[in-house]
Assembly symmetry: C2
Homo-oligomer: 158 residues x 2
DNA sequence: ACATATCGGACACGATTTGTCCTATATCGG
DNA sequence: CCGATATAGGACAAATCGTGTCCGATATGT
């Protein structure tokens, strides 16, 4: 599993929508500009997000996107998996025909455990939590990543 | 991050070598056949593993591969990262130019945490542990996944 | 020397990712 | 109802990546 650019865009887009909940429909163009996403491409991503029930789309003049649920009800996992597909670290866990010994294979059990751990973590984090944490620390939401310049530092994990 | 086929091959190969430690050099051809890996391709993977210091390679007649350390000293993480590169779930954490706000970005912190959790888990599992667990449950090592036909067991799902 | 076996570069091929372009369609405002 | 606006959705393009093969060069054991 790798968070693709599409997945990144999806997170940015939803995070932006989660910023002020009462706002209603937001134009794709605005989201694209602020969040530094190719507008057309965002259209594709948005369609996927809509199919997954994460956003609502209004067409036509004054159209755009809005959250289909509250920011507290949308987890990072849902966003990522909606766009990038279900998370499988290992193809063996995914394509049944690749491996016949799944049930008794220690390696598979390890990957299965790792997968569950990862999905649990991402599933436990809502957009609301992200927005809140962000506002506590920096006052700005990420997703702006490439947009906001000037704060370079060396990052690690944790 | 996704465990590629190369990564899978690497795990199979090392697991096979870990099976009986006293054996010395094992021919690539043998490994490839038993573990169902394209022999030439295994050559490429093996070179990478050698560079990472995980296996030793003997060229020439009666050449082949052997573990460079004991099976207890090689973790799954080392194997995977040697072949597939260091695990980064998110490009943002990886390519510095993509995102300037890493240190203060909540999303990045989440991915960073997830990454650490995953690497810690994989880092805590040695080849020896895998071999041992495997022999306890089924008596055969995985990696043979596609190789061992007719042994398809169901149930016992974790 | 000869047979054996890996090295390592070149190349092929398909899948995936990341976009763009264009036409159709839906919606709002007057 | 008309026209401006904005997204839908299919086609297409380019780049990258993963997987694998082929082949001459090189190293090693007998």
């Amino acid at each position: 599993m790798r968070l693709t650019r599409s997945g990144d865009y999806a997170v940015r887009c939803l995070l932006y929508l989660a910023l002020d909940p009462g706002r209603g429909v937001v134009a794709r163009k605005e989201i694209a500009e602020v969040m530094n996403i190719p507008a057309q491409y965002l259209g594709k991503v948005a369609q996927t997000l809509a199919k997954a029930g994460l956003i609502g789309i209004r067409q036509g003049a004054r159209g755009g996107y809005e959250l289909a649920r509250t920011a507290g009800e949308i987890s990072l996992l849902q966003v990522v998996e909606a766009v990038d597909g279900e998370i499988f670290l290992n193809d063996c866990l995914h394509q049944l025909d690749i491996c016949e010994r799944r049930p008794v294979c220690a390696v598979h059990r390890v990957w299965g455990r790792a997968r569950k751990q990862l999905r649990d973590m991402l599933g436990g984090i809502s957009l609301a939590a992200l927005v809140e944490e962000e506002s506590r620390t920096a006052g700005k939401v990420c997703g702006e990543c490439p947009a906001t310049r000037g704060q370079t530092l060396e990052g690690k994990g944790e």
